[in-house]
């Protein structure tokens, strides 16, 4: 007689080895190289801000879940991602406490008050950033640091002794392409510097190279698909080329894609599971929309950069996009509405 020491459950009895934790911590790992590079570009400030941001997001999540009497799930890594992404879209020269109100807004309001993981409508990190831009507009739009070009990083611990500067997008918006070249170098060197990450910008957004590598790894693991990043990048490039120059079809699509938060947003923010649609067609439209809105805000809006608001504007359209592009059923009844 076997003692009844086994469990009974519903099929299937096999499950894949994937888990929410595994996905989230993999995303964190894919963000780490960009974080490390930011230390070399902007100094240890970048790392300190990222640490404060991440710690506050985790703390706010734990406190919120305790307060709402829900299970505490900080180990799943999703608050860590929000913390890193929030830091990644903050200028490196802001006061060190700056991420804390952003974290409260991101995790408490945008994530948990809107239903918690799986139900939030907007990308929490971007809500955190949008809140900070609205509340502390000066710091959030001017605390840029010039990239450090030598090993001076080790002498600049913590203090704002680096040079304040303007972002390429700001220069482009207000002074034009010639001023960008004057300030950041001719396209031959400028593209390379921007691609690798040596340019002013938010903490984690500067290196298209490392962010793309991280994004490609997520694709390799099939955690994200190519549709949203590809559509976003192509859309930003296309609309910048058409409308970004002094005349039609004279804009610089490469500069447009390599500046601001396009690559970060395309791979790591617009692809957020909860706030982006499922289905390949819906994803392509979503990405194209993010790109188009980004360019519209950059060219016609009050801010030089538009990725954050473009994604936030597309987020609530996700359910509608899923509704418009439902998966094709294998063999539905005749006359079924699919």
């Amino acid at each position: 007689m076997i003692p009844p020491a086994w469990s009974v459950s519903i099929s299937p009895h096999l499950k894949s080895t994937e888990s929410v934790e595994k996905i989230m911590w993999t995303v964190v790992a894919c963000l780490i190289p960009s974080l490390i590079l930011s230390v070399f570009v902007f100094g240890f400030r970048a790392l300190i801000i990222a640490a404060i941001s991440t710690a506050s997001c985790v703390a706010v999540e734990a406190a919120t879940q305790k307060l709402l009497k829900r299970p505490v799930t900080v180990r799943d890594g999703s608050a860590v991602i929000t913390g890193l992404l929030l830091a990644f879209c903050i200028p490196p020269g802001v006061p060190l406490w700056m991420p804390i109100p952003g974290a409260i807004m991101a995790i408490y309001v945008a994530k948990h008050l809107l239903g918690g993981i799986g139900f939030n409508i907007f990308n929490p990190a971007l809500i955190g950033r949008a809140f900070l831009v609205a509340t502390f507009p000066v710091a959030m739009t001017s605390a840029w640091l010039a990239p450090i070009h030598d090993a001076a990083v080790f002498g600049s611990l913590g203090g704002i002794d680096a040079v304040s500067t303007a972002t390429p997008l700001y220069v482009l918006k207000h002074y034009g392409m010639n001023a960008v070249i004057e300030r950041f170098g001719a396209p031959s060197t400028l593209y390379w510097d921007f691609f690798v990450g040596w340019r002013p910008g938010c903490i984690g957004e500067t290196s298209a190279l490392l962010l793309t590598l991280g994004g490609l790894y997520l694709m390799l693991r099939r955690y994200i698909s190519w549709h949203i990043p590809m559509a976003t990048v192509l859309s930003v490039g296309f609309f910048s080329w058409v409308f970004g120059g002094e005349k039609l079809f004279t804009g610089d699509p490469v500069l447009a894609v390599l500046s601001g938060g396009v690559i970060l947003g395309a791979f790591f923010m617009a692809t957020d599971y909860v706030t982006s649609p499922n289905g390949n067609a819906a994803k392509l439209v979503f990405g194209a929309g993010v790109g188009a809105l980004t360019v519209l805000i950059r060219l016609k809006g009050g801010y030089p950069e538009g990725v954050c608001y473009a994604i936030l504007l597309m987020n609530p359209l996700s359910p509608a996009l899923e509704g418009w592009f439902k998966p094709k059923r294998f063999a539905p009844p005749k006359g079924a509405t699919t």
Partner: protein
């Protein structure tokens, strides 16, 4: 090879196959146990009326239950002996079902069945033999075979498909049957073709069963009669290839629309193991009272492919195979993707029992489930193009009755969605609940 083989058009998964535990083990006849519990309800439909009384003497293969009305198939004693009691036994789905317990007479001689000619018999006579033998589909649901082979008048069929995909991990009962009984299977196929009055038969086999493909192809080349065309179709390994609709689409390109049946598109699908029992029923006039069962999993001392008498208790099988290991975490009747987990080993083997799996704690995943993170993996792998994520969210929100819009009734519960779900959500359970409430 595996890349070029055809498969169904959308979705599908690749779970760990674990076929290697039993794929090279020849079918081994388990000695009949001292007692068998023959369930009078082997599958959906009506229970059988008992033909024997307590203390009656029965012989191996004797009919002990018949169905008077409605769906069903007769049941036979799987041993020679005396009726000990007429009561109830555990059933994997219905918890309990009426049964006849027979105590084996150790002195009884095993029954031998001599082959006879079948080619001169009419379709009606062939069907009669199949009905008398109590055949049901061995693949899963256990639909009575004589009814399946009698489609409504006016049905136009042109293709028979023998389902030998055996896409469930672990299981090798069909695989071993193909390797060891290829001629019986081909004769069974010819009998079905004769009954249906058609000429074309495809045997769909996933190409992880190279030996079976080779053996069957060679036998088909030797065995093909001039009036029929039997071919072996290797298929890509992808779960759920053995699903009827997916198999038909892979081999014929035709899609069976919900709520239709395969004969709506001119196809009859029969499990390959059933074809072998059709041979036995017609050529040997041997009733269905034993079958091949894969006993596998990493928590059984000795995995095996056993020829088991119907009614054998699982506890007797466990004893015969040397017991279970300490890491036993779940016992599943059927395959690991669609089978039923059971609370007791007092359960008897039924006509539809393809496997019994003794799964260890590192083979199953019993982590608690979390909220849906809308990653969309379940939508990607659904071979029916459904949205299991939405169904789950609706059910959790108390809106199960509004789920017909997601096509829940087209779901055949293959479990691919729950397999891939990183939040470990019980999507099959949600879908069953949705089906129970939707549209009511």
């Amino acid at each position: 090879m595996s890349k070029s083989s055809p498969t169904f058009s959308k979705g599908g998964i690749h779970p760990r196959e674990s076929k290697e535990l039993t794929e090279h083990l020849p079918i081994e006849a388990m000695p009949p146990p001292e007692e068998v519990d023959i369930l009078l309800l082997q599958h959906f439909g009506s229970p059988c009326r008992v033909l024997v009384d307590k203390k009656a003497t029965v012989i191996e293969g004797e009919t002990i239950g018949v169905v008077d009305a409605g769906l069903g198939a007769s049941v036979h004693s799987s041993v020679s002996g005396t009726v000990k009691s007429i009561g109830a036994s555990p059933h994997p789905v219905r918890v309990e079902a009426p049964s006849v317990t027979i105590r084996r007479d150790p002195q009884a001689e095993p029954r031998v069945f001599a082959p006879s000619e079948w080619e001169h018999l009419s379709p009606e006579e062939l069907l009669g033999k199949i009905r008398n033998a109590g055949l049901v589909g061995l693949g899963g649901a256990g639909f009575p075979t004589h009814l399946k082979l009698s489609p409504p008048p006016g049905t136009r069929l042109d293709k028979l498909i023998l389902n030998a995909a055996e896409c469930e991990p672990y299981l090798n009962c069909d695989n071993r049957t193909m390797i060891e009984f290829p001629h019986e299977i081909l004769t069974g196929a010819r009998i079905i073709l004769r009954i249906l009055g058609i000429k074309e038969c495809h045997i769909g086999v996933e190409n992880n069963k190279q030996e079976a493909i080779w053996v069957l192809s060679r036998a088909a080349a030797e065995n093909t009669a001039p009036d029929c065309k039997i071919s072996v179709n290797p298929l890509m390994v992808k779960y759920p290839q053995g699903s009827e609709k997916q198999l038909i689409q892979t081999i014929t390109g035709r899609r069976v629309p919900y709520p239709g049946l395969p004969f709506d598109v001119g196809v009859m699908v029969i499990n390959v193991g059933t074809a072998k029992t059709i041979h036995d029923a017609v050529v040997l006039e041997k009733p269905l009272y034993e079958r091949v069962v894969t006993i596998s999993g990493r928590a059984i001392a000795r995995p095996a492919n056993l020829m088991v008498r119907i009614g054998t208790r699982l506890s007797d099988i466990v004893t015969f195979l040397g017991g279970t290991r300490d890491n036993l975490a779940r016992i599943v009747v059927g395959g690991p993707m669609m089978g039923f987990s059971i609370p007791t080993t007092d359960l008897p083997v039924m006509k539809t029992t393809s496997g019994v799996l003794f799964l260890s704690d590192d083979e199953i995943d019993s982590r608690p489930h979390g909220p849906c993170i809308r990653c969309g993996k379940c939508v990607e792998v659904c071979s029916m193009g459904l949205s299991p994520n939405e169904v789950g969210i609706y059910v959790e929100a108390g809106r199960a009755r509004d789920t017909a819009q997601f096509g829940v009734f087209e779901c055949f519960e293959c479990g691919a969605c729950a397999f891939v779900c990183p939040a470990k959500r019980p999507l099959v359970q949600f879908t069953r609940l949705a089906k129970a409430k939707a549209g009511k």
